[in-house]
Symmetry: C2
DNA sequence: GTGGGATCTGGAGCGCGCTCCAGGTCAAGC
DNA sequence: GCTTGACCTGGAGCGCGCTCCAGATCCCAC
């Protein structure tokens, strides 16, 4: 009795991965995902491995990695274990980019909040003529 | 002797605002910036006020506000002082969005770093066969 | 007054990342 | 068997935010 590997329909995969059906097919088309196993009739059956990889893509995409770079990463994964150092380097660089982006965001958010504070002040100062009754 | 208000050429404004020349003109075209004062020959002369507004746009745009919403904000500004509460509300909502975005980023960055840690481990475990000399 | 760089205008084009569509096939319930 | 809905493929379309281009004008230095 071999271990039965779970498989998932496209609809289930949409549900579980958070990607749209079109995006799943798109990613497969452009080679971000290896060709997905098919059931007899040609319908896709995603594996747990596929789901894991999709989760990886979600992390990378969700942190702003461009598709071209995800593609590079996918190729490294495909090329086997002796690309691990390269993958690590790529992820570390990405992590640095994310960090920089967050720093930038924090900086600008601070300025937005200054503006908010300014408007709060302005609002407190001039309601003299606003309420009439 | 009236106070001479400074004005800036397009090139200077590019330099100071961080927006490209094309973007400056684009923003003006779509109404994100009020029509900029012109010198005799038709060349733009940006004012300190313009610069201030551009800085505002840079904050909003840089924190991911869509142009449509910046447009809404610009209209509120144009409509005068009794829109201050609305502007405040808009900025506060935006601030909340930025906050949510940062939370999302932090969460995903954590996962990316987990992957990095995983690869570091993998790298430490299998270099047995890698170095041969 | 002439050359060369900055600027002007209106409009077309582009890069990214999907998203949608048409026209057909597959699969499960009645 | 038939219906209905999920799924298939290849390719076109789109929304956003710029970016580029052509052809003309302006302005400053020499």
């Amino acid at each position: 009795m071999g271990v039965m590997t779970e498989t998932y329909s496209p609809a289930q995969t949409v549900e579980m991965s958070g990607f749209s059906l079109d995006t799943l097919r798109y990613y497969e088309r452009i080679g971000l995902i290896e060709p997905v196993r098919r059931a007899a009739g040609g319908h896709r059956r995603y594996s747990d491995d596929d789901l894991g990889w999709l989760d990886m893509l979600r992390c990378l995409r969700g942190t702003g990695m461009p598709i071209a770079q995800m593609h590079t990463f996918a190729e490294l994964v495909r090329d086997g274990d002796d690309t691990i150092a390269d993958r690590l380097a790529l992820l570390e660089e990405h992590d640095a980019n994310v960090e920089a982006e967050m720093t930038r965001l924090i900086e600008l958010q601070r300025k937005v909040r200054d503006k908010i504070a300014y408007y709060r002040g302005a609002l407190a100062e001039l309601p003299v003529e606003c309420v009439r009754d």
